[in-house]
Point group: C2
Chain length 322, copies 2
């Protein structure tokens, strides 16, 4: 079956990408575009188009694919292929699996984008060969997922891995989930942007507004963050350190509860900043390990597939579950 | 094999108990005593004596046992039967398994007391029939354990389930582990006793000192706590509520990360106070569930085997792993 090919789609609220890959994770074709959210049907048609373009790029007909996988930003039912809630897309109960299946005539698997990306890192990236892995994905929010023996450990209700909402201080900052002091409320890109704005409002100087203007960004993207750090921006450094500190507490709590072999930190910020993002997180986490780890049996590291984590993970999902 | 009999020992720093039980958890004989810690060898001889007394109580010869299990208060190596660290016993590297095996000539299994008690509750108590369970054990410290498909989920290094050291507020009270703001630092019996003393020192009135004197206790035992609550003691109620609140945050974090079917809360305080101890914990935990649980698919409940959780759990350990 060395010639079996899969399509994988990383469907995000800002952009989407599709790849065609073999079962060893070799990318043979790809395509990406900005997500058009004018209606759910328009977005689904974009997904179809990206798969077709990636297949063309790989020189194959979509009907020859073994299966297609999609990672969607929300709660997807892996059995029915329905995306129940995807706030970043404005979706509610979209039958994505059924539509793709009818269009392409091949098996379809739909999963949560973060969980799918962690599957990708487990199959071909930072967690390859590790039987017990946890992913911490830092982006608009903070998501996560657990992997045991190469399969997602979904928990009793399919809700395991929601580590972004671990409370680290119940009197902490407000979280988009409506509670206070969740890890996400300290450490998401959105939370970091909030903290940057607050420091600037309080009179601190920062290059960040100028960088955002220069790059024509309405949000503090990871590329803006990288540039601000290169400019040795004090506000950026202070805000990033706070986020990293709380990600370290989160990772320490995960180790004490779940004792994984590897924690992979992914998402846009981690992809761009790499080890310099992860090092302080690792340092804080290790101070919280109840069982000391002098030999470094537990690895805390950044994702290595970069922009491909999600789309390649979706090909793994396709292979395993379509 | 309906007639196979097992011995199980719950070895604690204050007292120890042994039972003889069949594979369905029916207790046929028992014995218990205060733990003599004058030397490790004296304590081990007590363990031997308790097993012999329980066997006599059941009317069988110890040599007829299928296996013997022991839950010890510390880190035990399940393969070698060595108890590496058991601070409450003053033990370091005691070859308990080997000594018992030589004495009785039957297979021996040694485990951690809390994990063993959770196995007991899973086999015959509050978690019976649930495939994914977490135990939170409140005593001198706060311990825990994870169970999946009837087996302990030990994690990569055998350190999973150390939930007592989940940080809930890094600026919180000091924990015996040397860190700050761990769940244990708010919610163990020891931490509650610290809080009671602090309130009394600050001038609050409480019946607790008189109750301890009356019962000739140097510590605030769970029976003292129960009596204080019966007397509507304001200090006891305030301190208990704080402990329960933080156990609720802990349970909520466990649900968001691990998504178990049931969380069993055990140990002396839970055994004595039962549902009145657990109800406020459940209420707080449910406010933290990221995925709502309107149908109550997740149960948060108290252990039901009472004083037998540990010793019966040790018979389960014996049956499965000796």
């Amino acid at each position: 079956m060395g010639k079996s090919l899969y399509a994988g789609v990383d469907l995000g609220g800002t952009s989407m990408s599709a790849v065609i890959a073999n079962s060893r994770g070799k990318v043979l074709g790809e395509s990406d575009t900005a997500t058009d959210k004018s209606s759910w049907r328009v977005t689904v048609d974009q997904v179809i188009e990206q798969i077709e373009r990636a297949a063309k790029d790989a020189g194959i007909k979509p009907s020859k694919l073994e299966a297609i996988g999609v990672g969607a930003p929300g709660a997807a039912d892996p059995k029915t292929g329905v995306v129940h809630r995807a706030p970043n897309l404005g979706w509610k109960d979209v039958p994505l699996g059924e539509i793709l299946s009818e269009h392409f005539g091949v098996p379809i698997a739909i999963g949560n984008d973060v969980q799918v990306a962690i599957m990708g890192e487990h199959a071909f990236g930072a967690a390859e060969g590790h039987s017990r892995a946890v992913g911490i994905w830092v982006g608009t929010g903070v998501g996560g997922g657990l992997i045991v023996d190469g399969e997602l450990d979904r928990g009793h209700r399919g809700a395991a891995g929601e580590i972004g909402h671990m409370v680290l201080d119940e009197n902490g900052p407000e979280c988009p989930c409506g509670r206070k002091g969740c890890a996400e409320a300290y450490s998401s890109r959105t939370s970091m942007e909030r903290d940057v704005k607050a420091l600037i409002s309080s009179g601190k100087k920062s290059v960040i507004p100028a960088l955002m203007k220069e790059k024509k960004k309405t949000r503090m993207t990871s590329s803006v963050m990288e540039r601000a750090l290169e400019a040795d921006d004090a506000v950026m450094k202070q805000v990033l350190a706070r986020a990293q500190h709380h990600l370290g507490l989160l990772a320490g709590n995960i180790v004490n509860l779940y004792d994984p072999e590897v924690i992979v930190i992914g998402g846009g910020v981690a992809a761009r900043l790499g080890e310099s993002f992860v090092a302080p997180i690792r340092e804080t986490a290790r101070t919280r390990f109840l069982k000391p780890d002098p030999k470094g049996k537990i690895s805390i590291t950044h994702a290595t597939l970069g922009d491909y984590s999600g789309a390649l993970g979706a090909t793994v999902l396709a292979k395993k579950h379509a």
